[in-house]
């Protein structure tokens, strides 16, 4: 088993494990974390692919993509967390089918 395989298999494993978590965990923070780990799994696949060249330096392109991907993931995670916290402060629970604890009558689109 090559170095590439180790990384990519680990990445694939992380991907499906966190996909399971995403589906089964109702809590928003869990879901966001699951998505983060899923991205981590994909980044591992990239790293594994970068490793397969026979030169001492790995292929820089997957690394660059991972770096870009991390920033993108950080950005979307930050927004998702802010949203989750706001939902928590509005409803008292960080889940999608939230009970309406504060009884907001003005619900409805605009």
């Amino acid at each position: 088993m090559s170095q590439t395989d180790v990384y990519t298999l680990a990445g694939a494993a992380l991907f499906v494990i966190s996909l399971y978590g995403l589906i089964t965990r109702p809590h928003l923070i869990h879901k966001i974390l699951a998505l983060n780990i899923m991205s981590g799994g994909v980044f591992l696949v990239f790293v594994g692919i970068a490793r397969r060249v026979m030169t001492p330096d790995p292929d820089p392109l997957p690394h660059a993509m991972v770096l870009t991907g991390i920033v993108v993931t950080v950005s979307s995670t930050a927004y998702a967390l802010a949203l989750a916290k706001r939902i928590y402060s509005e409803t008292g629970a960080a889940v999608l089918d939230a009970p309406d604890v504060f009884e907001r009558p003005e619900a409805g689109g605009d």
């Binding site: 990519t8 991907f15 995403l22 928003l28 879901k31 966001i32 998505l35 899923m38 991205s39 799994g41 994909v42 696949v45 990239f46 692919i49 392109l61 997957p62 993509m65 870009t68 991907g69 993108v72 950005s75 979307s76 927004y79 998702a80 949203l83 989750a84 706001r86 939902i87 509005e90 409803t91 999608l96 939230a98 309406d100 907001r104 003005e106 619900a107 409805g108 689109g109 605009d110």
Partner: protein
């Protein structure tokens, strides 16, 4: 000088809204308005020039960013398809901007609207032009974050939860997509679409990559059964945002699917995939329409109509696979449907927003007398409904015409049945709004009320113009039909 400027047009299509976005962010609520109006107005001539460039060139044009050639650098690709999508984005974007000038009073909670809005338009332009699978990932994320942030803008409970659901689906879709990109790079060592098309072979990794990317994009396009996030998000967003989400944002991810399955590869690359997408599309048409028939709120109805109309886009894949590419072409049908639906659905959501402003609610049973209280809005809704039903002379009719032709020609007549049944179901849900609209005004709406609280003219006219555009597209659409196949080697049409 003009030549030099022309060369840069593809870059300008992205740069104009992208520069305007941080300016609008700095300028704040009041001064963001002229910035957005100027930038979106400027995008229209840029898009027209790009369309003109594409059709005079008659082939794919490339703009290599940074001066680095593919496969090292990232290219922008201008062909009929990208030019068409840019054109629709520019037109719809401008109309929604005009509408939004009236829709968003200078409320504190909407102070970031203009910046987010311009970011969204810039990211759509970037998406439609990109010739690089990884760059498309960044573009997709840009679109998603901007769209979700716009959905949650009102800060209302339902809007926040809808935004969250949308966000989770969008991120999940992006991750699937990114996994696919990793496998594509692993299998073929390139990211550029044209290079990918050249080296694409029957390879397990490549096929898995296509499948993963398709799962991700199907999630983002809200194709049945991955549509669960769309109705709450599109109905709870502020109406101009609903309009852009249904008109353009879902088309963004569909556009990438189209590129991959008909430009880079073809629907037979992964056996059964074309048929699967078609079956899901057909189910979406029926399911979305039935749900639309059952909704109590207007915006939910319109949102479920989007679920149904998205289904039509996906009929393209099986029909291209079995019917091939003819003059009466399923591919053209799908793209033309995307264009006319973009115009009509944005009109419909803008009209729904006008109804909300006018009535203070959007309960369908309470819309009695709409045609008297807001005749222009009623007209906009009705006309865009014609496109949803696919009746002539609308653009939706031409799309359905092509679909039916392709399915009869290829002997796969059941797709034609779905298309026709979907039209009748659409008539059903459009009638649910139009019929009470013609009813005598309900008791709470006296005649004195007719003149009270008139909507700003430019809001209603923005909706009406889009609806009319969708309508005449069916008769005057030949330039669009000519444009969208430019540079598409499979079309067999030599411009």
């Amino acid at each position: 000088m003009t030549d030099a400027l022309l060369v840069h047009m593809p870059a300008l299509a992205v740069v104009v809204p992208l520069v305007a976005a941080p300016i609008a962010f700095l300028a704040g609520a009041r001064w963001g308005r002229p910035v957005a109006l100027f930038a979106t107005a400027l995008s229209i001539p840029v898009a027209f020039v790009i369309a003109w460039m594409a059709s005079t060139a008659g082939e794919k044009l490339r703009y290599q960013i940074g001066g680095w050639d593919a496969p090292l650098g990232i290219g922008l690709v201008v062909d009929g398809l990208s030019a068409t999508m840019l054109l629709v984005t520019a037109v719809v974007g401008f109309a929604i901007t005009v509408y939004s000038l009236g829709y968003f009073a200078e409320q504190e909670k909407y102070r970031f609207f203009w910046a987010l809005w311009l970011f969204l338009l810039a990211s759509l332009a970037a998406l439609f032009l990109s010739a690089d699978v990884f760059n498309l990932y960044v573009g997709l994320e840009l679109v998603s974050v901007a769209a979700v942030a716009l959905v949650g803008l009102s800060g209302k409970r339902d809007a926040l939860i809808a935004a969250m659901r949308y966000m989770l689906a969008a991120i999940l879709g992006s991750i699937f997509y990114l996994f696919g990109v990793a496998l594509l790079y692993g299998a073929f060592g390139v990211l550029d679409l044209a290079h990918l098309a050249a080296v694409l072979g029957p390879d397990v990794t490549g096929q898995a990559a296509f499948a993963l990317i398709t799962i991700g994009l199907v999630l983002k396009t809200a194709l049945f059964p991955a549509h669960f996030w769309l109705p709450p998000a599109h109905s709870n967003a502020p109406s101009p945002v609903s309009a852009v989400l249904s008109a353009l944002v879902v088309k963004g991810s569909f556009y990438i699917l189209l590129r991959l399955w008909t430009d880079v590869g073809d629907p037979s690359y992964v056996p059964g995939m074309g048929t699967l997408l078609g079956v899901l599309g057909a189910t979406a048409i029926v399911w979305g329409s039935i749900q639309a028939l059952r909704q109590e709120r207007l915006k939910m109805l319109v949102a479920y109509s989007t679920v149904a109309q998205i289904g039509y886009l996906f009929l393209l894949f099986p029909l291209v696979e079995i019917a091939g590419r003819h003059v009466a072409d399923a591919w053209s049908a799908g793209v033309f449907h995307a264009v006319s639906h973009a115009l009509a659905k944005s009109a419909m959501f803008l009209a729904a927003g006008a109804v909300l402003s006018r009535f203070g609610h959007d309960r369908i049973e309470g819309l009695g007398g709409l045609s008297r209280r807001a005749p222009v809005t009623m007209m906009a809704f009705g006309l865009s409904g014609i496109t949803m039903m696919g009746l002539p002379p609308s653009g939706g009719f031409v799309a359905k015409w092509l679909y039916i032709t392709a399915s009869i020609e290829s002997g796969a007549w059941w797709w034609a049945v779905v298309v026709l049944a979907g039209g009748l179901l659409a008539a059903g849900y459009v009638a649910r709004v139009v019929v009470p609209g013609f009813a005598k005004a309900s008791a709470d709406a006296s005649d004195a009320d007719v003149d009270a609280g008139r909507l700003p003219k430019h809001m209603e006219l923005a909706a009406l113009s889009l609806a009319l555009a969708a309508l005449v597209l069916g008769v005057l659409g030949q330039p669009v039909l000519d444009l969208m196949v430019v540079g598409d080697p499979a079309s067999g049409v030599i411009p």
